[in-house]
C-alpha cells in the first residue's frame, strides 16, 4: 500500500491561500465548473485561474472533480462540461478526474442541485456506456462518487453497493467514497453503513472525500461549510482499519470556496496537517 496522499479543494483566485496550501498538500482538487466562465452560452476556463494553476503545475499534483457533467441525465451529458475538461487536459497535467453519480440537468434545464439516480438496469447500462466513452476520450483514470440522496429513493433493482460494484466491474472505473455523504444517507434515509461497506468492493476506492455540512429542516445536508467532525474522522479510520481499501491513494478535505474565509485559512491548514498526521504519517505504508 502506498502512502495516502492528502489534498484539498481549490477554486482559484486566492493566491495567498494557495501559497499556504502548497507546502502541505500533495495535490489540489478543482472543479472545471468552478474555474469556468461563460459568454453567450459558450463556456471556457477563466484565463487568470488557468494561468494561476499552470504556475504551480510542477509543484503539486492536480485532480479534477466535476459537478456539471450530469452523467445520469437521460438526454445526454453536458457538452459544455466536456469542453471545459478538454481545455484543462490541454493545459495541465491531471492525475485523474471524477464526477458525481447523479444528474443535474433534464433536457438542458438546470435542477439547481444534483439528484441521485434510480439503480435500475436501464441506468446501469447508460452510465456504463458513458463511463466507457469518457475513459476512451481521456486516457487517465476516471472515478465516480456516491452522492447524498435528498429525495426519497425510487424503487431499484440493485442496492447502493451492488450498483457501484457493477459500474466499476463493467467499466474499470474507480470510486470516490465520500464518507460524510454516507453519514448523511444513514441519518436521512437509514442507510446501514456497515452493510453497505461489507457489500462494496472497497478495492474500487481510489479516493476518500471528507467534508462537513449542516442540518436543515431535520436533514443532514452536504453543503461543505466547515471542518471535518470527529465522527467523520472516526468513520474514516474505521473504514481504513476494517475494510483496508487496497487501492486508496488520496484523501481530500472538501470545502466550498464560499466558506474559506469563514472557516479561516489557518484553520484549513491545521485541518490538512491533522489529516496528514492521522492518515498519512500513520498509514500502513509509512509505518
Amino acid at each position: 500500500m502506498k502512502p495516502v496522499l492528502i489534498g484539498t479543494t481549490y477554486e482559484g483566485g486566492r493566491p495567498d491561500f494557495l501559497e499556504k496550501l502548497l507546502p502541505i498538500v500533495d495535490y489540489l482538487e478543482f472543479s472545471p465548473d468552478s474555474l469556468a466562465t461563460s459568454r453567450n452560452g459558450v463556456a471556457s476556463i477563466n484565463p487568470e485561474k488557468l494561468a494561476e494553476l499552470k504556475e504551480v503545475n510542477n509543484k503539486v499534483d492536480f485532480l479534477v472533480h466535476g459537478v456539471g457533467l450530469s452523467i445520469g441525465s437521460y438526454d445526454g451529458v453536458s457538452k459544455n462540461y466536456l469542453k471545459l475538461l478538454d481545455e484543462l487536459f490541454e493545459n495541465l497535467d491531471l492525475k485523474w478526474h471524477s464526477e458525481h453519480l447523479a444528474y443535474m440537468f433534464v433536457e438542458g434545464i438546470n435542477l439547481g442541485t444534483m439528484v441521485t439516480l434510480p439503480r435500475t438496469n436501464e441506468t446501469l447500462s447508460m452510465v456504463c456506456d458513458r463511463v466507457n466513452i469518457i475513459q476512451e476520450r481521456y486516457k487517465i483514470p476516471f472515478l465516480l462518487e456516491n452522492v447524498v440522496s435528498l429525495l426519497p429513493e425510487y424503487h431499484s433493482h440493485y442496492s447502493h453497493a451492488d450498483f457501484l460494484n457493477r459500474i466499476c466491474d463493467n467499466t474499470g472505473c474507480g470510486l470516490i467514497l465520500d464518507i460524510y455523504n454516507l453519514q448523511c444517507d444513514a441519518y436521512n434515509h437509514g442507510l446501514n453503513i456497515e452493510s453497505f461497506l461489507k457489500e462494496l468492493n472497497c478495492n474500487h476506492i481510489k479516493e476518500f472525500h471528507l467534508a462537513s455540512g449542516y442540518m436543515d429542516s431535520g436533514f443532514m445536508t452536504d453543503i461543505h461549510a466547515g471542518l471535518t467532525s470527529d465522527t467523520t474522522l472516526n468513520l474514516t479510520q474505521q473504514i481504513l482499519d476494517s475494510y483496508r481499501p487496497a487501492n486508496l491513494e488520496a484523501i481530500t478535505y472538501e470545502l466550498l470556496d464560499e466558506f474559506v474565509e469563514r472557516v479561516g485559512q489557518e484553520a484549513i491548514v491545521n485541518e490538512l496537517e491533522k489529516l496528514k498526521v492521522l492518515f498519512y504519517e500513520k498509514s500502513l505504508a509509512t509505518c
Binding site: S38, N80, D216
Partner: protein, 189 residues
C-alpha cells in the same frame, strides 16, 4: 418486481416537481405523490435556491444586499428561478437576473438592479450609456448598501437623474432635478 418507469419519464417528473411546475396525476405512481408532499422536496428546492442566492450575492452585491435589507431576497429569487431556465454560469445568470428585476419589479428594486447592471458592464470595459431617474437621493442608498447598513434614513426624498457611462470617470454622475423635470419610472420598465 415492480415495473420501473423509463428514466426519461422519471427525470421529467422530478424536474417538474423540483421546479414546482408539475402536480402528480391520479395515474402516477404513489412515489410521485409521496415526493410531492415530502419535506425532502422542500429541502431540494431550498438547497437549489441557496446555491443560486449564494452566487447572486457574489455577483450582484448591491442588488442582493438591497433585496435582503428589504426582505425580498427569498421570494424574488425563487420567483426568478422558477420563471426561467437559467445558465449554470453566474456571468450569464447575474446579468439576466438584473435585467429580469429591472423589468419585472418596480421602484427602488428595479432602479438598483438597473444601476448595478450598468456598473458591472462598465467595470467589464463595455461601452455603456444609461439614464436612471431616482425618486430619492442615490448616494445615501449606495453608501448604505456598501456599508451593509441600509435603513429608512438612507432613503431621502428628492428627484435625481443618474447618468451611467463608460466615458464618465467614476462611472456615474448624479444631478438633482426639479419636480417638473422628474419622469417617474413606469411600473414595468
Amino acid at each position: 418486481m415492480k415495473n420501473h418507469l423509463p428514466l426519461a419519464d422519471l427525470q421529467q417528473k422530478i424536474l417538474g416537481l423540483v421546479k414546482d411546475s408539475y402536480l402528480p396525476e391520479y395515474t402516477d405512481e404513489n412515489y410521485f405523490h409521496s415526493v410531492s408532499k415530502s419535506l425532502n422536496l422542500q429541502l431540494v428546492r431550498a438547497i437549489a435556491l441557496w446555491w443560486r442566492q449564494n452566487h447572486l450575492e457574489r455577483y450582484c452585491f448591491f442588488t442582493a444586499r438591497f433585496l435582503k435589507a428589504t426582505g425580498q431576497m427569498e421570494t424574488t429569487t425563487a420567483r426568478y428561478f422558477q420563471a426561467s431556465n437559467h445558465s449554470s454560469f453566474i456571468e450569464e445568470t447575474g446579468p439576466d437576473f438584473l435585467h429580469w428585476l429591472s423589468k419585472n419589479t418596480i421602484g427602488l428594486t428595479s432602479i438598483i438592479a438597473r444601476f448595478e447592471l450598468g456598473m458591472i458592464a462598465i467595470n467589464k470595459n463595455e461601452v455603456y450609456e444609461d439614464e436612471i431617474f431616482w425618486p430619492c437621493d442615490p448616494f445615501p442608498i449606495i453608501y448604505g448598501l456598501v456599508q451593509n447598513d441600509l435603513s429608512n434614513e438612507s432613503i431621502q426624498s428628492g428627484e435625481f437623474c443618474m447618468t451611467l457611462s463608460d466615458k464618465i470617470i467614476g462611472s456615474f454622475e448624479v444631478e438633482e432635478i426639479s419636480p417638473f423635470q422628474f419622469q417617474p419610472i413606469p411600473p414595468y420598465l
